[in-house]
């Protein structure tokens, strides 16, 4: 019966090899959670920064959850794509960040990674573009198999999330 409001924005993404980026996001939460209002997934616009290396999205996130337990605390999962001059979008980063459990405003940098293929894959993606992607994106936030994936660090997705909690103290959860 406790409630969690997550209000904030995907500020932008930086430190990626390319700057023309957009980002798909999705909120994941356990079965004990119930979304009351708000969109749980979305996609930002493509930002092609003319100057500076950070792509700004300023994409709003406004979620309202009701929960009956702490398990499956919501997390945000990101897929950052590069939008190249030919209009193709190629993956440059996967990442996820937990919604903070502390009420208040949080600035979160979500680090991302990208799977690396063989040497030839890398060479071809260097010249031709594209690259390998995960078959099942839930690998990003499911911990079981990720260690088998060879990966390279991507950039960061910057988040600003305000978290409002309600009624958690009723159930003995101090926050």
């Amino acid at each position: 019966m406790a409630e969690v409001h997550v209000i904030g924005q995907i500020v932008g993404a930086s430190e990626f090899p390319e700057n023309d980026l957009f980002c798909k996001w999705e909120a994941h939460f356990g079965p004990a959670w119930k979304r009351l209002q708000g969109e749980v997934s979305g996609q930002t616009q493509v930002d092609c920064p003319a100057s500076g290396e950070m792509a700004y999205f300023a994409h709003p996130i406004d979620l309202h959850f009701a929960t009956r337990g702490l398990q499956g605390w919501p997390k945000l999962h990101f897929e950052v794509f590069h939008y190249d001059w030919a209009g193709r979008s190629s993956l440059v980063g996967y990442g996820f960040a937990h919604v903070p459990s502390q009420p208040g405003l949080h600035k979160i940098d979500c680090v991302t990674w990208r799977p690396t293929g063989s040497f030839m894959d890398e060479v071809s993606s260097k010249f031709v573009g594209g690259g390998i992607q995960l078959k099942r994106p839930d690998l990003v936030y499911e911990l079981h198999d990720r260690r088998n994936v060879h990966s390279t660090a991507g950039g960061k997705v910057h988040l600003e999330l305000s978290v409002i909690l309600r009624n958690f103290d009723k159930f003995g959860v101090e926050c």
């Binding site: 019966m1 406790a2 356990g30 079965p31 004990a32 119930k34 009351l36 209002q37 708000g38 309202h64 009701a66 929960t67 009956r68 337990g69 702490l70 398990q71 499956g72 499911e142 911990l143 079981h144 198999d145 260690r147 009723k170 159930f171």
Partner: protein, 1558 residues
């Protein structure tokens, strides 16, 4: 003792010059003297040597560059040490000496002494030059003195030269010191060498003079060493040195003066820190390996060179020159060094044993740390560890380090895995000969055979059978005893029996197993023997053998009779067992049979007694026809015995098939042993045939060409290769090495990859021929705890034939344990799905069953876990798992940790309300504009209840017509829902403009700046102020009024009574409020009245467009007259003023029209009754005149005050939706959009917005977008012929058109706009329209247009459907008829025709004309209807969008079937009756008085007719008489006539009359 080389030997010894006091100065004086003496001695000796002109050594030459430097330094040293010892003349000499030193490098230096001599000469010359010039004048006087001086100078020069020589010697010593290795590596061998050479040479050297030695020209190193060692250590010199050594001894008090000897010599200096003592003692001090006993040198016992001390770790570095010299010695003067031959090898190098140490350590030892002597050993231990670690580092590359969940848990030192690779045995190899292959097979068979032999299953089963038999016997005895005993416990007995049964079953299985095992072993043996025979055959055939395998076959002769007896015993036992089992079973069955039999007997007796009773009572009886239960027969055992006999003897099963073979009685017991290394291999020379020998030679050479390594991979990361190993004679590779693998994270597996390299040939080929995977060991497992495991590998050749390589890799892998016994293994984490983390496994916890319990076998994420569990467990455990595996949970402890149950979440009112608000089910109206309450208790249940669907057509007393109407409503509701859904979807679409708020580029419009200059000062047209629109939200706060301006009316009907003057007034009714204007007079009154009607919403959140209350304007004639009061005779006495309102006409405007169009402005045609009794037009009484030529019209201006914002959003959203979803019509949409752009960009068409978008696409009943032209059929639709054949046939086309229009207008008008918030028109086809008998103006217009099209076929008349703006409907659909120059406009819902150019034309503007062929969009809508004057071909006015000639654009109109309809004749009578009764009743209630009307309405419902009638206010006639006249004097008459048109179109005629009795 000689002390030299202070700087070289002893860095910075105490310098005597440093002593400051007197004693010190005396001391230094003494020391100086000593040093001088020493120098002199040295000089003497050196001079001797130098004069001898020893051959220049290579090293010496190389060191000569340093000589000069040394020279200078030694001079300085000397000056420092000697101080005043150098006299005044020394200073220039020193300078000269330095000059000589500087000059020396430029000289090619043929010999050191030559250089020194030159420098000395130059020094002399310099002195002469320096001293000679001043001494030139007193030459005569002091000749003697000069001579003396010269003498002194000469001596000085001599001294200088000596010093130079000395310095040279220093430098040589230094050069020798550079060869540090030789000196520091002074070990026992060299010492011995030295000593021996000395002892040998001692005697010789005493005789050998220096001259003699000099003659030899060339000296070996040894000679030099011996010579100088001997010559230096001459007793006299030594004593002298001892004498002079007193002073340095004081300076070095701690040094053992007697023990330390510094040896040097000029060219080559050996600084040996050797011990010099008396010869007798020397042998004790040095270590002579073979000193105790003379080395026995014989052929039988070769010299142990290692014991001789020949071994040195590394050969001393010998320069090239020395090597050359040595070679020359060896070749040319061999006789001299005959005795030394043993020292040097053939290559001329010092003989050495091969280095026993490997480059890399094998099985590095863990240092023992029994800490006996802690202090000392701690250091050593540490060093040892360091060494080991370095070794480990150097040998083993560290494995991968990557980011991992373990990263934080990593420690400094990596974990260490030990991979122990034993070896590889090839089972197939390309170099195998036939014999090899056979041997390989033999080996494999033998391996199996040995295993089988070891496990010895037959014996095991034999024992087991015996044990079982014993147990059975015991149990049977026990059971028998129990049975006999008095107090027998049935339960115990039963238990015994059950156990016996179980044992018997087990016994039978065991016997079968035994036979099977014996047979398996036997067949293995036979195979083995066959394989050996094959090997033997091959060897015999070839005549030689290449393998060294031999087979030892032991045969133990068995007595046939014994075997027979054993067999018989077995058969007997088995039969016995079987018999007893069968007996036991039979007993059971028998007992059961007896019980059943008993039951049967009882039943039978029962029946008999009953039958008897019945027979006595005379009733018919039947026979007892139950069969007795069959008696069980004991099973025949004979058959089984035969079977067993066959099985045991011959191995035949019951079908006669031989399934297993056993040793037959009398056959000897055979035991086979395989012997390796039995030297049966034929030597190459003995191979009989030449070509076979050659072949074999080649094969063996190839064998040696191949070598193999194993690459060790930790998780696909190469850790390191093993060393190269060549094939052994029996195709095995012996590694026997332990490889250390350092890991920072435990690899999931270790992979070994066997590669083959081939030496020689043109290229060295590398092939990977096999893999072996070692599982990652348990974190508790060290290497030592594991046994070697053999992993088979095979590699097929290129052509997928039989395996080219096949073999077994013996290896094991475990963690290393350090010196303290700690296992250098990480605690491997196990993924615990319960906590979703990796946790440390507790070794004692039963983890696997727990995991089994938790996982969902269907979840792919757990497949690996399942697999691991399946691999790591024995089948029994797996079976248990399968049994318990039915239970699984995915989210652990969610229920337990939950705050509440899931139902609580679902039922919470607030959450439901929030979700509904999110879905849009709850709007602001339900919440009354307030935010969502924060607590569930504040939310009413009604709010969150799902909206209930009204039940469908189920009204009991509903006529067909009503049912049909309700069906229509249902259908429309469905369509509306669909469209609303589409809306909600469309709401999500955002246009670019909506999303992006782009600031417009600032364009400085010069023209607009200039415009004020040229604008007129007094504009004729007053600038209008734009009324600001109030947003909807403030609707509740501000009072809103409906402002109705009634300007005038024209053509009102005049009363028939010409004396009367028409006094009309207008009543406006809205939402129950009624206002009226003042009364004017005349048929064309001019009121100019402004009425303000309050406008209220039913509740705060009601949307204005959903208000369905109509605004009704009614025109009345205010007739006031006086008449004599009742009962009064004289008119003057009491006349009564009678005021009557006579209805003249009305017009009804839906509020939504006002709201959406913002205003209604113009002339509204009044809806007048067909016949108003008493009012008859303009005087003429004939019939033709009764039809008024001109209908009355009211000019109004209606608007809302203040203005409300139009509900435009939905409309736009819908448009967006339409545009976004139509794919097939995108081309047209683009065209339309282009037109719109064109219109907007047209400067002439600068209308702010169009009141009505020419929508080229409309929504059909199927919720699809349909091009409007598709609603018009090119040939039109045939109207029902019945219409024209009433009475006489109608032939006049104009009349026909009127009839049709009438017919169409009679179809009830049901607006879908008022109920539709978004102004969405749903266009029905004509068929649907007629079927449902409902529709709004589009439907009417479409139907009318289609009819007119049909009628005007063949004539030149053109019919268009016109979308435009009309009064009072606002945006609506009309039909335009263009007949040459005549243009007519049809109002389809009223059935009226107007002249388009006339002033009454209700159509104000036309947005587009629609024909069957396409759409004509009006480019100039502000021109009004006048654009019709320009033909549709005029490109300036009309834009033609042609209907595409595609299938999707085909006409959707279907011919209308007029037959049948929902209204039957009886219905008509009913309706007539109902209306009449209702009206009578109503009028009697309303007190009607006067006047009559004849009305014609379409049939919708009686209520509406009632409304119509009430609007006439007929009932009020006579009401407003003064109060004295209470008795009503009015009689009313009412006639209803219903006419049925085809398809159930009903026309109702009402005649209402109020008869005022005069």
């Amino acid at each position: 003792m000689l002390i030299v080389l202070q700087e070289a030997g002893q860095p910075e010894p105490e310098q005597p010059a440093e002593a400051p006091d007197d004693a010190a100065s005396r001391e230094s004086e003494k020391l100086r003297g000593a040093v001088k003496t020493k120098h002199d001695t040295k000089k003497r000796r050196l001079r001797k040597k130098l004069n001898a002109e020893l051959p220049a050594e290579g090293e010496l030459q190389s060191a000569q560059a340093q000589v000069k430097e040394r020279l200078r330094l030694s001079r300085e040293d000397l000056r420092q040490a000697g101080g005043e010892a150098a006299d005044a003349a020394a200073a220039p000499a020193t300078a000269d000496d330095e000059a000589a030193g500087a000059a020396a490098p430029s000289t090619s230096s043929p010999a050191a002494d030559a250089a020194a001599g030159a420098s000395a000469k130059s020094a002399t010359a310099a002195v002469a030059a320096a001293g000679g010039a001043p001494a030139g004048k007193p030459l005569t006087a002091k000749a003697l003195r000069r001579k003396k001086l010269e003498e002194e100078q000469r001596q000085q020069a001599e001294r200088l030269r000596e010093q130079a020589e000395e310095a040279q010697m220093y430098s040589a010593a230094h050069a020798a010191l550079n060869r540090e290795d030789r000196l520091t590596r002074f070990d026992a061998a060299t010492a011995q060498e030295l000593i021996r050479s000395r002892t040998e040479r001692m005697a010789k050297m005493t005789k050998m003079s220096w001259e003699a030695l000099r003659e030899k020209k060339e000296l070996t190193e040894d000679e030099q060493v011996s010579f100088f060692a001997n010559s230096v250590w001459e007793p006299d010199e030594l004593t002298a040195a001892d004498g002079t050594a007193a002073a340095p001894a004081a300076a070095q008090p701690q040094a053992g003066a007697d023990d330390e000897v510094y040896v040097y010599e000029g060219e080559k200096v050996y600084l040996h820190r050797a011990v010099f003592l008396a010869k007798a003692d020397e042998s004790k001090l040095y270590y002579y390996p073979s000193a105790a006993s003379a080395t026995p040198v014989s052929v039988e016992h070769p010299v142990n060179l290692a014991e001789e001390g020949l071994y040195v770790g590394r050969r001393p570095r010998v320069t090239e020159g020395n090597v050359l010299r040595l070679q020359s010695i060896l070749t040319m003067k061999a006789d001299v060094y005959e005795s030394k031959k043993g020292w040097l090898g053939e290559d001329g190098r010092l003989r050495m044993l091969p280095d026993p140490l490997k480059d890399v350590p094998m099985r590095p030892l863990v240092p023992d740390d029994d800490d006996d002597v802690q202090g000392v050993q701690a250091q050593q231990q540490h060093q040892e560890q360091l060494r080991l670690r370095q070794l480990a580092r150097s040998e083993f590359r560290p494995a991968r380090r990557w980011d991992s969940p373990f990263a934080s848990l990593e420690r400094e030192t990596p974990w260490q895995l030990e991979v122990d690779i034993g070896g590889v045995q090839f089972l197939a190899h390309p170099l195998f000969t036939r014999e090899h292959a056979a041997v390989s097979r033999l080996r494999q068979l033998h391996r199996r055979y040995a295993r089988s032999e070891k496990s010895n299953f037959p014996a095991y089963f034999r024992d087991r059978i015996a044990a079982l038999r014993r147990e059975i016997a015991k149990l049977t005895q026990e059971a028998a005893r129990l049975e006999r005993s008095q107090n027998k416990n049935e339960l115990v007995l039963q238990d015994y029996r059950n156990r016996v049964d179980a044992y018997r079953a087990e016994l039978s299985t065991t016997r079968h197993s035994k036979i099977r095992e014996e047979a398996a072993h036997y067949s293995l043996l036979i195979d083995l023997l066959n394989a050996w025979r094959e090997v033997r055959d091959i060897r015999q055939e070839l005549g030689f053998s290449v393998t060294d395998v031999r087979c030892d076959i032991e045969e133990a002769v068995q007595s046939r009779s014994e075997d027979e007896q054993e067999l018989l015993a077995e058969i007997r036992d088995w039969t016995e067992e079987h018999q007893s089992a069968v007996q036991a079973k039979h007993q059971l069955v028998q007992a059961e049979y007896l019980a059943q039999r008993q039951l049967y007997e009882r039943r039978r007796a029962d029946f008999e007694s009953r039958r008897l009773a019945m027979e006595q009572s005379g009733m018919a009886t039947g026979e007892f026809d139950d069969e007795p239960p069959p008696e069980p027969q004991p099973e025949n055992v004979d058959n089984f015995v035969q079977q067993i006999e066959r099985l045991v003897r011959l191995g035949e099963d019951e079908f006669g098939q031989v399934t297993c073979r056993r040793r037959q009685p009398g056959e000897p017991l055979v035991r086979v042993r395989l012997l390796d290394n039995s030297h049966v291999t034929t030597p190459l020379n003995d191979i009989p045939e030449q070509h076979r020998a050659a072949e074999e030679t080649r094969r063996r050479r190839m064998e040696s060409e191949f070598f193999y390594t194993i690459q060790i991979y930790a998780d696909d990361k190469l850790v390191g290769p093993t060393e190269d190993v060549t094939l052994s004679s029996n195709f095995a590779l012996h590694f026997n090495r332990i490889y250390l693998v350092e890991v920072v994270q435990p690899p999931s597996r270790i992979r070994l990859q066997l590669t083959e390299h081939r030496r020689g040939g043109f290229r060295s080929a590398v092939r990977t021929i096999g893999f072996a995977s070692l599982p990652r060991p348990d974190s508790q497992t060290t290497r030592a705890q594991l046994n070697f495991s053999e992993v088979q590998f095979s590699q097929t050749g290129a052509d997928a034939g039989p395996a080219e390589y096949e073999g077994l890799i013996r290896s094991r892998c475990g963690w290393r344990s350090d010196s303290e016994g700690n296992i250098l293994a990480p605690m491997l984490k196990v993924y615990d799905p319960q906590t979703e983390t990796y946790v440390d496994p507790t070794p004692d916890a039963p983890k696997l069953p727990r995991l089994t319990e938790m996982r969902d076998p269907n979840d792919p994420a757990f497949v690996r876990l399942n697999l691991n569990a399946a691999l790591g467990q024995d089948p029994q455990q797996q079976q248990q798992q399968q049994l318990t595996g039915g239970y699984c949970r995915l989210n652990f402890f969610e229920e337990e940790f939950g705050f509440c149950s899931a139902e609580d979440l679902d039922t919470d009112l607030r959450f439901r309300a929030l979700i509904m608000r999110d879905r849009g089910d709850i709007g602001a109206e339900q919440l009354k504009g307030a935010p969502m309450p924060a607590f569930a208790s504040l939310i009413s249940k009604e709010m969150v209840e799902e909206p209930k669907r009204e039940t469908d057509v189920s009204r009991t007393r509903a006529s067909e017509l009503q049912k049909m109407r309700m069906r229509y409503e249902a259908k429309m509701r469905y369509v509306r829902e669909q469209v609303t859904e589409a809306f909600n979807a469309a709401k999500g679409y955002r246009t670019y403009e909506e999303v992006i708020d782009e600031a417009k580029a600032v364009v400085v419009d010069i023209l607009s700046l200039l415009r004020p200059l040229f604008s007129r000062k007094r504009p004729l047209k007053p600038a209008r102020e734009i009324v600001s629109r109030t947003p909807l939200l403030s609707l509740a706060m501000a009072p809103i009024t409906l402002s109705v301006n009634i300007i005038d009316a024209i053509d009102l009907p005049s009363p028939n009574d010409s004396k009367q003057i028409l006094k009309p007034f207008v009543e406006v009714t809205f939402q129950g409020n009624t206002l009226r204007t003042a009364t004017m007079s005349g048929t064309n009154p001019d009121w100019n009245a402004s009425l303000e009607l309050p406008f209220r919403l039913r509740n705060a959140t009601q949307k204005p467009e959903t208000i369905s209350d109509p605004l009704v304007l009614k025109v009345f004639n205010d007739r006031t007259y006086s008449r004599p009061a009742e009962g009064q005779q004289a008119a003057d006495v009491g006349s009564v003023v009678v005021q009557e309102k006579h209805f003249l006409g009305s017009v009804s405007i839906p509020f939504s029209t006002v709201y959406i169009n913002e205003k209604v402005q113009g002339r509204l045609q009044l809806r007048v009754p067909d016949l108003v009794t008493g009012y008859g037009g303009s005087g003429a009484g004939d019939g033709a005149a009764r039809r008024r030529p001109r209908a009355p019209a009211l000019r109004v201006f209606i608007t809302l005050q203040p203005h409300l914002a139009r509900p435009g959003l939905l409309q736009q959203a819908f448009d967006t939706w339409v545009r976004a979803t139509k794919n097939t019509l995108s081309r047209l949409a683009d065209e339309v959009a282009g037109v719109m752009r064109q219109m907007q960009s047209n400067p002439e068409a600068q209308v702010e917005e169009f009141l009505y978008h020419p929508r080229a696409f409309v929504v059909s009943m199927e919720v699809k977008e349909v091009f409007v032209s598709c609603y018009l059929s090119p040939t039109g639709l045939a109207p029902p012929a019945e219409l024209f054949s009433r009475g006489q046939e109608v032939t006049d086309p104009q009349h026909k058109k009127l009839i049709i229009a009438n017919y169409v207008s009679l179809v009830p008008f049901v607006s879908d706009a008022s109920a539709f918030p978004g102004l969405i028109d749903i266009w029905n086809t004509c068929e649907e329209f007629m079927d449902y008998q409902a529709g709004d103006e589009e439907e009417h217009a479409v139907l009318l247009a289609n009819y007119l099209l049909h009628l005007s076929q063949g004539t030149g008349t053109q019919i268009y459907l016109a979308l435009g703006n009309a009064v009072p409907e606002g945006s609506t659909a009309y039909v335009v008829e263009v007949d040459g120059n005549d243009k007519y406009v049809w109002n389809p819902s009223l059935g009226l025709r107007f002249n388009a150019m006339g002033d009454r034309c209700p159509l104000i503007s036309i947005d587009c004309l629609i024909s069957a062929g396409g759409v004509y969009i009006n480019k100039k809508p502000f021109e009004g209807v006048r654009v019709l004057n320009y033909g549709v071909t005029d490109q300036n006015y009309w834009l033609h969008i042609e209907k595409p000639n595609e299938r999707t654009f085909e006409c959707i109109q279907q011919p209308i079937n007029y037959s049948g309809g929902p209204v039957g004749d009886s219905d008509i009578a009913n309706i007539e009756y109902e209306i009449e009764i209702t009206l009578r009743k109503a009028i009697s209630e309303w007190r009607p008085r006067i006047v009559g009307y004849s009305m014609r309405v379409g049939y919708m419902s009686t209520d509406e007719i009632l409304q119509e009638v009430r609007n006439t206010k007929l009932h009020e006639i006579g009401m407003y008489v003064d109060s004295s006249d209470a008795v009503p004097k009015v009689q009313f008459s009412c006639v209803v006539y219903l006419h049925k048109y085809p398809k159930g179109v009903l026309s109702i005629r009402l005649n209402l009359m109020a008869l005022n009795r005069r």
